[in-house]
Symmetry: C2
Subunit: 174 residues, 2 copies
C-alpha cells in the first residue's frame, strides 16, 4: 500500500489492513455471482493488498478533476457523488456499503470524473493501481477474478447509463 492517502484528505482514521475486514468484503463480493466466485482464501489475499480508513461526515474523499490512481470500496456509511455545475454541484448518486468509487481513474489514468463526499461516517477500503499490478504479478488468477468483478460492475453501470441516455439521443431512425 504505497498510497499516502492520509495526507490527501485528512482527517481520516487509519483502520489498518483490509484483512481485518474480510467478512464485510466477502459479503460484498458474494453479490456478484457470474464467473467463478472467490474463495475465502482469495478474499484474504486480496484484502492483504488493500488498506482501510474511516472518515467522518462531510469529508471529500475524491475531488473532481484531481489525479488519483486508487479505487475505494465502501464498507459502512454513505457517500454523495456529484459533479460541479455553474450553479453549484449536481448530485449523481448517493451510495452505500458495497459501492466501488474511483475505479475509472485507476483504470485509465484520467482525472477524477466526479467528487465523492461522505454523507455519514464512512469506512472504506482502498486499492491503488500499484496494489492491483502487484496482485496481477503475484496472483494472476486472483487478479483475473478481481478484474472480472470490475468488468461486471462497469457493464452494469454502462447498461444503466445507456438506458437513461436513450431518450435523449437524437439518432437517425432506420
Amino acid at each position: 500500500m504505497e498510497l499516502n492517502y492520509r495526507t490527501s484528505c485528512s482527517p481520516l482514521e487509519d483502520l489498518g489492513p483490509a484483512s481485518s475486514y474480510v467478512d464485510e468484503i466477502m459479503a460484498i463480493i458474494d453479490r456478484l455471482p457470474l464467473f467463478e466466485d472467490m474463495t475465502p482464501h482469495e478474499v484474504i489475499a486480496l484484502c492483504q493488498h488493500m488498506h482501510c480508513y474511516g472518515a467522518p461526515r462531510g469529508i471529500n474523499l475524491v475531488r473532481e478533476g484531481d489525479t488519483g490512481d486508487y479505487l475505494m470500496v465502501i464498507l459502512t456509511g454513505s457517500v454523495v457523488v456529484s459533479k460541479a455545475e455553474q450553479c453549484g454541484a449536481k448530485v449523481y448518486a448517493t451510495v452505500g456499503p458495497g459501492a466501488c468509487l474511483g475505479e475509472m481513474s485507476m483504470i485509465d489514468g484520467e482525472p477524477r470524473f466526479a467528487s465523492c463526499i461522505t454523507a455519514r461516517p464512512t469506512d472504506f477500503a482502498v486499492l491503488s493501481r500499484n496494489d492491483l499490478n502487484r496482485i496481477l504479478v503475484d496472483f494472476p488468477r486472483l487478479g483475473n477474478k478481481f478484474l472480472l468483478l470490475l468488468l461486471q460492475m462497469m457493464t452494469r453501470r454502462l447498461r444503466d447509463a445507456s438506458v437513461r441516455l436513450l431518450p435523449h439521443i437524437v439518432g437517425t431512425a432506420i
Copy 2:
C-alpha cells in the same frame, strides 16, 4: 472456438482462425497504451482463441434482446449499432475497425443491449466466454492483460455516456 456462429447469422464467410490476422489485431491493441503492453507472442496466443468471419452489408451480426456470450472485434468495414424504438430503430453509433461489440453480454450474461448490422462488407474476430475462460485458465497473465484492455474500453464508454447524460440528470444541487 465452440461457438457455432455460422448458424446464427448466415451468410457468413468463415475466414479461419484469428492467428491469420495478428497484425490487424496487434494494431488495434496498440491504441490502448496504459498498463503493460501485450507482446507479439501474447497477441498470437490470444488470436489462437479467436475465429474470424466475413459478412456482406446488411447482415444482423447481433440482435437486440437475443442471448449471446461472445464479443466481436471489427477488423474491416462498418457496423451500425441501433436500438428498437416505437417508430423504428434509433441509431446509437456507426463503428469501424478496432471497435469491440457484444462485450457486455459476454461479461454479464444478460440479453444483447442493441442490434449490430453491417453497413459495409465487414470482417470481424469473435471471442466467446468459453474462449475467454480457457485463456484465463491456460494463460492467466495474458488473461490479465486482455481483461485490462476490456476495462479501459468500458471506462472510456462509461465516461462518454456519463458526460452525455449529465445535462439530462435532474439532480439535487448541493
